[in-house]
């Protein structure tokens, strides 16, 4: 018999002050920009200075969010660490390559190279924790985080592990942003937070962040929710999405009316937000609709923020006004569905239930 999968703790470093787990979007960080950096916690409280000096931003953020998740779960170690990242520690990779060019391929120093790979985050957390278990990094663009969730879910259901630390992390780096701005994936003019989702312009506001969660097949004292189902679709025809979503719910013996809220990945890109708006005016017309990317910015593992948001809603029973897209209210959240896609590809559905 398959075991249940519980989200027993959360940890977040994002563009908002989410590293403080006592807060829930009470003090919103606003902006008028095209790129957003995380609100830095005091890293010295989490990482010895000698270790921090070589750490890329993604590793620092993840050290904080993973330690907060572990602390809340009351665990010293886990059976596995699974991380999703679209770009890994791209900042160090960029610096390493820039150094090669700048120094005419003559003087290559080791520091940048050491931590420039995608799996540095998962490896660093394991080293710090002394975790010798399964250690895996999924680099699957905008479904990297969901791929990690999926792996964890399968292992926990099959009882191959009891506690798994699962995360999604991406750091923002200059060259990557410049490249994506050049090809029109980043908004070309600054946009205010409250206007980004209705900006009717091309591209997104780019962000960064790190979100970690302890998933277990045993309920804990701090359990937030139950991961009931998820699915990933690399390609979907737009006209089939509504049918796929209702089919996904049907597979879980649910109807649309059983969903108390849908969390959508709108990012204000006029070229692709119609994937969401069409659903909002059809199958989700009577469902409370929530959004989060105006708070987090867009990045490959931004759905980690959405997952964090859903779990916070379950825990607190509060739906902050800032995330509401329509005027339907969630009275008592029992089931939340997350739907995300990026530029019309890599769709994901994640179903969470209160437990």
């Amino acid at each position: 018999m398959k075991k249940e999968v519980y989200i027993n703790s959360i940890g977040s470093v994002s563009v908002q002050k989410t590293f403080d787990s006592t807060q829930f979007l009470e003090d919103i960080v606003t902006y008028n920009d095209t790129t957003l950096k995380v609100v830095d916690p005091n890293y010295k409280e989490y990482i010895p200075p000698a270790a921090a000096r070589r750490m890329a931003k993604g590793i620092k953020m993840s050290a904080v969010s993973s330690k907060n998740a572990m602390k809340e779960a009351g665990l010293q170690n886990v059976d596995a660490i699974i991380v999703g990242t679209g770009l890994g520690c791209l900042g160090d990779s960029e610096k390493f390559v820039s150094d090669i060019i700048k120094n005419d391929e003559q003087y290559l120093t080791p520091t940048r190279f050491i931590q420039s790979s995608h799996n540095t985050v998962a490896g660093s957390i394991a080293l710090d924790m002394g975790c010798k278990g399964y250690n895996f990094t999924y680099v699957n663009t905008s479904i990297s985080f969901e791929s990690s969730l999926w792996d964890a879910k399968l292992q926990l259901q099959a009882n191959e592990a009891t506690h798994i630390l699962v995360g999604g992390v991406d750091e923002m780096v200059d060259h990557h942003v410049d490249t994506h701005r050049f090809i029109g994936h980043v908004k070309d003019k600054p946009v205010a937070m409250e206007e980004v989702l209705s900006s009717h312009t091309k591209g997104a506001v780019i962000g960064e962040g790190s979100h970690f969660f302890v998933l277990s097949n045993k309920k804990g004292k701090s359990t937030y929710s139950k991961l009931t189902a998820l699915n990933i679709y690399n390609t979907l025809k737009k006209e089939n999405i509504a049918e796929v979503i209702t089919g996904f719910l049907k597979d879980n013996h649910l109807l649309l009316k059983d969903i108390d809220g849908v969390i959508l990945g709108n990012n204000g890109d006029i070229e692709y937000d119609h994937f969401y708006t069409d659903l909002c005016s059809s199958i989700f017309e009577n469902t409370p609709q929530l959004v989060f990317k105006h708070l987090s910015g867009e990045f490959d593992t931004a759905t980690g923020f959405g997952f964090w948001l859903a779990n916070k809603i379950f825990k607190t029973g509060i739906v902050p006004e800032i995330v509401k897209l329509n005027d339907k209210n969630i009275t008592e959240p029992k089931r939340l569905l997350l739907y995300n896609q990026y530029r019309g590809r890599n769709h994901s559905l994640v179903l969470l239930e209160k437990c």
Binding site: P49, A52, N103, Q106, Y107, P110, T111, I114
Partner: protein, 84 residues
Amino acid sequence: MSNLKLELKEKIIEQLNLEDVSVDEIADNDPLFGDGLGLDSIDALELIVMLDKDYGIKLADPKEGRKIFESIDTMAAYISANKA
């Protein structure tokens, strides 16, 4: 020589990312490795590259580094004697 020592301290702080250390906190005779500044083997590689890149000094035998990188004093003395 004192200018060179100051320059070395600034370069070490910048290149080794010693965010919490200021030039004033590094004495000329402080050990750079171990109990002193706490540098490690990766930093040693960075310093070897720095000698080559910034001062044109190639260390033929990396084991020489142990004496050269003992302190700012020893580094400055070696650079002054061997600078290209």
